[in-house]
């Protein structure tokens, strides 16, 4: 069967339709993008799963303590009385915490900008 010379010849000489110049580079760019997307998807999925498991564990622990071990919860923070003096102090602490968060956010943003060309 493999000696069908005429059939072999027409199949081998027929237009092979070469791929255009830069096809592999273009495709490789798509593959790289897909790899990044895959990585991001994996990160989001892992984060979601870890959060879900954590919340479930916390909820489970609370339920166990409250209903099976009959532990009474009291939140001391609810008994705090706000005066004008403590109010201004809380305001200052919140301002400092907010500032620290903004600075940390900016630090992460600039770091990601700096590391971008390496990807």
């Amino acid at each position: 069967m493999n000696q069908d010379k005429a059939l072999k010849r027409i199949l081998q000489t027929r237009d092979k339709g070469d791929l255009p110049y830069g096809f592999e580079i273009g495709l490789m760019n798509k593959v790289t993008l897909e790899a990044k997307r895959k990585k991001r998807r994996f990160f989001v999925l892992t984060l979601g799963l870890v959060s879900l498991v954590s919340v479930a564990m916390i909820a489970g622990t609370i339920l166990l303590l409250k209903f099976y071990l009959s532990v009474q919860f009291s939140l001391p923070v609810l008994h705090i009385r706000f005066s004008t003096e403590t109010g201004s102090m809380f305001g200052f602490f919140f301002y400092i915490a907010f500032l620290a968060l903004v600075l940390l956010g900016l630090d992460t943003y600039f770091r990601s900008l700096r590391h971008k060309p390496k990807d």
């Binding site: 010379k5 059939l7 027929r14 237009d15």
Partner: protein, 187 residues
């Protein structure tokens, strides 16, 4: 040896060295494209399907377990991608009378398919190949052009080796019938 090297590359790609995928592109993009273009004759479609094949292969790379050659696995994806594209377009192929195909003498078929000096016959052969259904075209491309062994062709087309042999036998007869009907038309 090649299989081992491919497995090593796949492991590294899955570990994050995406750039190594380019070696697969360099090695297999052209042969895969040349098979697809014989199934889907439109150049633009064939190019897009080649791209789809590699993207699918990359997305499902972790499912390749090394039970066949990496090239076989890639060809299988390419074949399935091309087949589903042709199904969407609903191309119809001429139906040949089974009794005529079965009654053909082997010697006549062998003689016709080996006459490679007759240019007029070569043209008719080419036209006959164009009229074949998608699976038959893929089959003869893999067997005659890519020179793949029967067992590999069977693995790509998801058939048994015996089935491939039978199909090859029938495709040769179909080509003969189509060439003869072209000859009768021109008379």
């Amino acid at each position: 040896m090649e299989q081992q090297k491919d497995m090593e590359y796949i492991k590294r790609i899955l570990d994050g060295e995406t750039v190594l995928f380019s070696s697969f592109l360099q090695r297999y993009a052209r042969p895969i494209h040349s098979m697809i273009i014989r199934i889907v004759p439109c150049r633009e479609d064939a190019e897009e399907l080649t791209q789809d094949t590699f993207m699918k292969a990359f997305r499902k790379l972790e499912t390749y377990k090394g039970d066949c050659n990496f090239s076989t696995w890639l060809y299988r994806i390419a074949y399935n991608t091309a087949i589903s594209a042709t199904r969407k377009k609903k191309i119809t192929f001429p139906v040949l009378d089974e009794s005529i195909i079965n009654s053909l003498p082997d010697e006549a078929v062998n003689e016709l398919l080996n006459k490679d000096e007759d240019e007029e016959l070569m043209q008719k052969l080419e036209q006959a190949v164009e009229l074949l259904d998608v699976e038959s075209r893929a089959l003869i491309t893999l067997y005659y052009t890519e020179e793949k062994p029967i067992i590999e062709v069977a693995s790509i087309l998801q058939l048994t080796p015996e089935n491939v042999k039978v199909k090859l036998y029938r495709v040769r007869r179909k080509i003969y019938t189509l060439v003869k009907s072209k000859e009768n038309e021109s008379r």
